[in-house]
Symmetry: D2
Subunit: 427 residues, 4 copies
């Protein structure tokens, strides 16, 4: 039987293939020489499955796609405050190579423009890290995101350094504002190595999936960065990742994303999937022409826009009924699905505000497959308040969705495995 | 029994109450005279339940919070293209009253700054709409979002018009670029009426919930705008709603939001909840000081950040087992929860790639409570391909999650209500 | 006999006539309808002689050429400080209709851009002047510069007001910064009347000559504004008069100048001449194409560049010789020409530093035709110091170049009409 | 006897001495260590006389005052077009170290800001000049302006290079726009050497006087640059020399000037004088506080403002009378002083338009001490036209003010040494 998702990807590639508009990045000789016909797309799931079509194993340089990942490394290595003190999080509405420093402080507006990314590079590793050690840390970190050892393309590196005038200008300007505290040229060299790391479309999909998977590489299981770092990185990607086309992207595609001048493009759906595409011809914003088309299609076909209202609201409270009667009567709240704040609100409403007159109440979690922290606390608070009102509370939790269910301050629950255990004995 | 959510809201208000920093908007005399101690917060669920604490029924003027809603009305009335031709979607990184027009065209950068909002106001209603009719349409539209008839505060309106110098400047500038095609002063008058509409915190929460509920007012059931319009509005709110603090907000709070100078602040979690707060003292960005604190708390307490990875990945495939044996054997894929693209990918994998040798396969949707369009198509495609491979496919769908299940092109499924109906007869 | 200067002007017009590049101002319908072939040039001397060629008596609207003159009126009516508090003197390097306000204060950068000129208009006449009175004062003032009663072209006025969107935008913005303290629209109406005043090329040459003549109209003899005001106006014209082409003009033409969108262009050489040209087609900076060519030619042909070193340094000290001998000997310093600071320095050097041993010294002013204030004081100081050193000083001053020659503090001079009167009697 | 001008200078220094406001340049360690109390002023005449007071022989680094002189050298070495193609002449209204490049081309706005000056440095000497040779050419050129061999302060040079981050940023940015075509760091090193040249206040006064003297050093007599170059340099100094205070300076002082961060300040009055002051404490624009005060005083005391109307117009036509009568009658036009275009216009008027009926006309230049080119041509044209009208023309020119007086095309003049030679013989 033919596979469904690769078929879909192949079809999508076929549709965009004829579009030969745009040009490969011209300002770096090595990139200008790239084969402009290369085309690939890959999806990586949060449990490490990769689907690909086209040139998914052709290596190219990561370029600006390294920015969100190295931002993540800097946040992890130094903490939020020192990094935020040097690099802001505001969209610049400008091209990638604009200087875009805050007037006065000279702080780069965000880590997705070169000024910010160069500063971020200097913040990876421990303070007073030797430049070579820092580059090694960067490459090691990028490799951890990808789940395999990555290497630097020395020819592209040399080619970029030979024409790195603007990045050198930016770095010296940052140095003049003390946003960089090291030798400007050395930092640009390190940053250029970072940009020259070779990746495949498959690697990029897995790197994106590592972000989607809360910072844990789905293949290696390594926690590369924390969940808090991931949230920061995705937020910044969403508003600043596509340069001066950020607003178009946010409205039309709606996926936190990042592009690179070698033609790569990644997107991350938190908790769901990492996506990568590769096609070297760029539009006037510096984003891959066919890559943008592919993402527009993926977003539309698969409902990936982060502002899409998820599918029809789940009925968290599957049923609310009474077993037995008289003083033995048991009110059963049968819950289902995944429960977050909004779901827990329904439980609260069902449990408390309909004011069950029965003295015994069972909350049945048998059909619940996930419950987040706030929902957990709300359900326990329901139990506590029912207890305080003199009611007896049962938690039907055969799969231990609520481990250690202590409602606190006078609350009390009895955990059972089936509703029957709590149900009134038919007399 | 005391209610949980109002308790939570009251506690949150109590925590921020002592913060007397910031100042009410000074540039509009009527607003400067507002009682700066007012404080309220409200949640509205997508099924219309409103929880509130504090001064939730005190009326104040909607001001800039009208912007996303009137943007929605313009998109609904004129369609996307004519509106996008006049107002962009790029973050400006500037204060609300900066002119921020694209150089050359004079197109305002986005609809959340005054230049954009004034232009948007002129795009509500049919072309060549009389100004008074347009204002009526705007008030009617805002009322539909709120679910009750709203009115204009004539005193605030007069006070604002008397000091509307900057908005008049902006409107004349827009007129000079033909972004406005009507009398500049008349448009500013209409826009100022729009800003002077009186709302309560409760109203704002319901308005936000209407966006969260795909444009359908949870109380009235009226479809105010389409789902596509809502997505556009929320995307723009996310990147442009908090002016020059947009990046801070996106990283720290992560909720599409909009503030008004009278002290209101709303946030929308698609599919989940509408939130509103009210406290007149503003920070230097023009956002309510205590409102921002409340949202930071709500986001953190309740996991509302849109870039948060949702709670532990749901095991969509609850079980994958075989009933019976021999040629009668039935492979059962028991699914559960809500199924989107990422979930359907697991189904595909379970169903196809483990290549069930059994000739009969049942996909059990009994525990599925939601399935989106792409997932529906993927499940049917699984069925189709299994059919083509010669397998017999059953869909166990007692609650008709998949109405009209036609896999197309040679596919075929038998819908049953229980697994037992498909199960091999125990011989 | 044919006249020399009109011949020169006619020849110059003939040379530029074929240049049909540029376009008449398009944004004001009445101006767009002007006959683009009109061409005129005129010189007016500081004693009121006007030379002209071409359409020197064709009326057109003064437009921005009113700016320096109305700036002069405001400085005269209100004094420097109140005007400088509202309008700066810094070049903006921007087009005439850019807003160009100082960030923060909202003060227009200079009075030659529209924002500055609109503010300046509001500063003419006494404080709290009624708008109609102010317009009358402006027209009366412009008429005084021209030496005849000027009038407003009502059709151009109406046409400009109908499309005055940008000026209205600017005025409302100024109002929002309290740079204007009156109704924005009323000020724009007044300013537009000012711009709609009808002048001929002859008028403009006389207006420029009034500036060249220290503010005194050469024909009427009326002192329109003071010399201090003229200096301020010419300085600002020099650096800001030609908008974003100011630097090109300053280097290539080097004459304080001002252009108008109706095609007029004036230049003023302090103490020497006023020049005006008229040709409606404008370059991309909004300056008359053929007007700019004519001024480049005039500047080059006639050595009018203010940074040109004047012709070969004048030998102020014509001779330094001794008449007679012995104790009667008279040292005679024969001066000539016009004497300013630099000239007086030569006198000082000749008189004192060569340390005349003769006891009697005559300073012969017979051939001096002008001496400025600092030079007068220096010559008298020479006399005083010679006196203090015990020398006897004669001033040969038949035409009373030094009226009331009191050297002060112990100095003393004897004024005579010829050297002979002081010369030693031949024994 | 005590000297007048040094007395004046000493008094001026005494008046500004108590002003201890401002701070020495802090960003270059060596400059921050300068003695802030140093104070000097010097005047240099166009014939090489230097008057000084205070620390006129204390050496300090020339810094930005080198900019106009090196601009002059580049214009001389490469011609106008190649230099203008790389550096504009428009005022930037910005601080000295702003990048201020034209958008698109990346051309620095003017040669007085660092971006322009760095580019200009690279344009000195022949194309493909070795960097060391270029620096030598720059030092040799500056020395020629000063009239003595200048040297580089190696300690200041090293100190500046150690903190030259911003200039390096600017140079790399210029390199990225191909405004620089050489290694960015090497050019900054050369430029920094240029800025580190040691000068005294006396040197600076002489350098300014070389500009005042049409490019000829008054002491050495060496023509350092041409008159055309000087005019360009002075024009640019006038509008761009004082950074963002250019407009204030142009209106209040009105002298082409240039300041340096070491505390130097120069001004040039074309044809008249060079002025220099030295005092290290700087205002917020980077200009010497006491230097600015001194120039304001000099300008006001001595009438040095270039927009001042020169002293009372000279009666160029001293007399217009007839000697003798009948056919022998001779009309004598006795001229005096220096004659430029405006003066010649009076001659034209007297000679032609009063239409002398006498058949013989003498133009008496005995009292004329200067006549510029256009005036010479106009006087000869008068002679030509009188000839054509049948009149006989005499030029009384004992000092050969009009060498080779050929009126051309049918004109004819008889040159005589005294009026008497042309006068009718008394019968």
């Amino acid at each position: 039987m033919r596979p469904i998702i690769p078929d879909y990807l192949a079809e999508a590639l076929g549709d965009v293939e004829p579009d030969a508009s745009g040009e490969p990045a011209a300002y770096i000789p090595e990139l200008a020489a790239a084969d402009p016909e290369r085309l690939a797309a890959a999806f990586a799931t949060v449990d490490g499955r990769v689907y690909g079509a086209g040139d998914v194993d052709v290596p190219f340089t990561i370029q600006s796609i390294s920015k969100p990942f190295v931002y993540a490394l800097a946040l992890a290595d130094r903490g939020f405050d020192p990094v935020l003190a040097r690099v802001g999080v505001e969209p610049s509405g400008e091209a990638f190579n604009e200087i875009s420093l805050e007037s006065g402080s000279g702080r780069p507006l965000n880590p997705m423009i070169n000024a910010g990314a160069i500063t971020v590079h200097s913040l990876v590793g421990p303070e007073r890290c030797a430049p070579a050690d820092r580059v090694e840390r960067v490459i090691r970190g990028l490799s951890a995101f990808a789940g395999r050892q990555l290497t630097v393309d020395r020819q592209v590196y040399a080619s970029e350094m030979a024409t790195a005038h603007r990045n050198l200008a930016i770095a010296h300007m940052l140095r003049s504002h003390d946003m960089l505290t090291e030798d400007a040229r050395t930092v640009v060299e390190g940053y250029t190595e970072q940009c020259s790391v070779l990746v495949t479309t498959r690697d990029l999909a897995l790197m994106a999936a590592t972000l989607a998977n809360r910072g844990v590489n789905p293949l290696s299981g390594e926690t590369v960065v924390s969940e808090t770092v991931v949230r920061q990185v995705l937020s910044v990607m969403f508003s600043c990742g596509m340069y001066d086309a950020a607003g178009d992207w946010a409205t039309q595609v709606g996926i936190p994303a990042k592009s690179g001048v070698a033609g790569g493009l990644i997107g991350t759906l938190p908790g769901r999937i990492g996506i990568a595409t590769f096609s070297p011809r760029l539009d006037r914003h510096g984003n891959s022409v066919r890559g943008v088309s592919l993402f527009e299609r993926f977003s539309s076909d698969m409902g990936l826009h982060v502002m899409d209202v998820p599918s029809a609201g789940q009925a968290v409270v599957r049923s609310n009924h009474v077993l037995g009667s008289g003083t033995d009567a048991l009110r059963v709240l049968e819950l289902q699905g995944g429960i977050d704040f909004a779901g827990a609100e329904r439980v609260v409403r069902a449990a408390l505000e309909t004011a069950p007159p029965e003295a015994r109440v069972a909350v049945d979690l048998t059909r619940v497959h996930a419950i987040d922290d706030v929902a957990r606390r709300m359900v326990l608070e329901v139990a506590r308040r029912l207890t305080l009102d003199g009611q007896e509370v049962y938690l039907v939790d055969p799969e231990t969705m609520l481990p250690d269910p202590d409602p606190g301050e006078g609350g009390r629950v009895t955990v059972v495995r089936t509703v029957e255990e709590a149900a009134p004995t038919p007399s």
